[in-house]
């Protein structure tokens, strides 16, 4: 476990996310089964697999957007559903409504909604959290710009700032490197490393096999069921993983 400065005592060795015999259905069809892994704060984990393997479904389970059909998902040894404020979810960068009249600051402030609720005004502490998140992501100068006036990489930074304002310990990202230019990809890689070093648990679906070991400490391979889990360098050497990607339409 790395040193962290999450800001409280949450991130300790016991601060694990663990999945046990998790499966997910859409209607009567099982799309994911037998998922078992456990991971601590301060790590970056990639979920990889062929198209339709269940990567996004697993992210949706972790984000509490979908209920698992069987098994348990625990955070700090309690059901994850009790910890929704600890989990921040970033869909793919183009999933928000286009041309929506909203500034970067307002997007980041959304992260405070679990704390302030529907009606309460933002307190000084809430404002400080928003300002702090903008500062960490180096987008203070963009704060008053409309979100759709930014590039994909800048938008991604704004959305990550929202997670920081939320004070979430687990950050889930759906294909975060998709659609970014080289410079934005490098910046995002540094950001994810920085957040992990601060004690956040980063989980991202990812499709570029060549960059898995460089960008992530751990890898979970799925193909309708769990194929492999472990340190990314070891996982990418496993024969079953190599067979999966050579034999599929990846």
């Amino acid at each position: 476990m790395k040193t962290n400065d999450c800001g409280d005592t949450h991130c300790a060795h016991t601060h694990d996310l663990s999945l046990s015999e998790v499966s997910a259905n859409y209607g009567k069809t099982t799309v994911l089964k037998e998922v078992n892994f456990s991971i601590s704060c301060g790590q970056r984990m990639a979920i990889i697999g062929p198209n339709g393997a269940g990567k996004s479904t697993l992210l949706r389970l972790l984000a509490n957007l979908k209920k698992q059909a069987t098994g348990e998902i625990n955070w700090q040894e309690k059901p994850l559903s009790q910890w929704s404020h600890e989990i921040a979810y970033l869909p793919q960068v183009d999933s928000h409504q286009r041309d929506f009249p909203i500034t970067v600051r307002e997007v980041v402030a959304m992260g405070r909604y679990p704390q302030v609720g529907f009606w309460r005004k933002f307190s000084k502490k809430d404002q400080e959290k928003v300002d702090g998140a903008l500062h960490i992501m180096e987008i203070e100068d963009l704060a008053d710009r409309q979100i759709d006036a930014l590039s994909g990489g800048q938008q991604q930074r704004a959305f990550i700032a929202r997670c920081l304002a939320q004070e979430a310990h687990v950050i889930l990202l759906d294909e975060p490197f998709n659609g970014l230019d080289a410079e934005s990809r490098t910046h995002l890689a540094h950001t994810l490393k920085m957040l992990a070093d601060q004690g956040h648990l980063i989980i991202a679906s990812h499709h570029n096999l060549e960059t898995v070991t460089r960008l992530f400490d751990y890898a979970l391979v799925v193909d309708g069921a769990q194929v492999a889990f472990g340190e990314s360098k070891q996982v990418m050497q496993m024969p079953e993983v190599n067979n999966l990607f050579h034999c599929s339409h990846y």
């Binding site: 984000a63 509490n64 957007l65 929704s84 404020h85 989990i87 921040a88 979810y89 970033l90 869909p91 999933s95 928000h96 409504q97 929506f100 009249p101 909203i102 500034t103 997007v107 959304m110 992260g111 909604y113 679990p114 529907f118 009606w119 409309q146 939320q166």
Partner: protein, 275 residues
């Protein structure tokens, strides 16, 4: 003209319905649902006719029938879309055209085909005191709800999945706002009819959106523009002796076209100054 009791009532209706529709148009615009609403407004007809067949034609029966049919069509289209590969646009198109055709058939069967025109084009000068109170009640409800729940509503419109992870009851917000829209639509239907109602619930928001990036301003300014445009439209129609309902919608359309032109000219001037 203000001495005329009928005109006074119509003028007040314009202010109430214009403001309610204008305020709601901010939501419609951000929800990108003008076409869905257009479909829904047509689906109200069979509800009114069925209610007439069952309990006779009264204001309340027409209102109740319209609300029930709109909710049925709206919710059914959502359910069909959720449980099939079809989009809600598709399921709504099928259901509303079917419902509209059913309405025309039922009107003919009832021998009231001559009343069709009122439902298609409205009758703002024929509104009763009860109609006015109902418009006021629904308008107040819509404005209060959209103001009170603005934070979760905007988050749901912007990114529903993220809204859900942040604790927003997305389904309730979606169904609630949909029901509210239908209620607003029904009061509008009585005033300007199902064909022109879309102009009232879309145009003010579209006009204001050209000038603002703030949802709060969008809602309020659209409400004011809706009220002013509707009242002005009524007066102009009175002076030139044209149907009031057409006058209202045409005035709002002219506002939009002027706003668009003004905006285009201003950006041209700004570009030239910068160059």
């Amino acid at each position: 003209m203000f001495e005329l009791h009928l005109f006074q009532r119509a003028f007040l209706a314009c202010i109430i319905i214009g403001f309610t529709n204008g305020y709601t148009s901010g939501f419609v615009l951000l929800n990108r649902s003008p076409l869905k609403l257009s479909a829904l407004s047509h689906s109200l007809l069979p509800g009114i006719v069925l209610a007439t067949m069952l309990v006779g034609l009264t204001v309340l029966s027409a209102f109740g029938g319209a609300v029930i049919m709109a909710v049925v069509i709206g919710v059914l289209s959502l359910l069909l879309a959720r449980h099939s590969k079809l989009s809600q646009d598709t399921t709504l198109s099928i259901l509303y055209t079917g419902a509209f055709a059913l309405g025309i058939m039922l009107l003919n069967r009832l021998g009231k085909a001559d009343e069709l025109e009122h439902w298609l084009f409205g009758n703002i000068l024929g509104l009763t005191e009860l109609d006015l109170w109902m418009s006021f009640g629904i308008g107040l409800l819509a404005v209060v709800m959209l103001t009170l729940f603005q934070r979760p509503v905007l988050l749901t419109l912007f990114e529903p999945n993220v809204a859900q992870t942040l604790g927003v009851p997305v389904r309730w917000i979606q169904y609630g706002s949909f029901t509210l829209l239908i209620l607003v639509l029904v009061t509008t239907l009585q005033a300007v009819g199902c064909i022109l109602s879309i102009g009232l619930i879309v145009t003010p928001g579209a006009t204001v959106r050209l000038f603002t990036n703030s949802p709060r301003t969008l809602f309020l300014a659209s409400g004011i523009l809706g009220a002013v445009g509707a009242a002005l439209g009524l007066c102009l129609a009175y002076y030139v002796d044209l149907p009031a309902e057409a006058g209202i919608v045409l005035t709002l359309t002219i506002f939009f076209l002027f706003a668009f032109l003004f905006k285009a000219i201003m950006s041209l001037i700004r570009k030239n100054i910068v160059a």
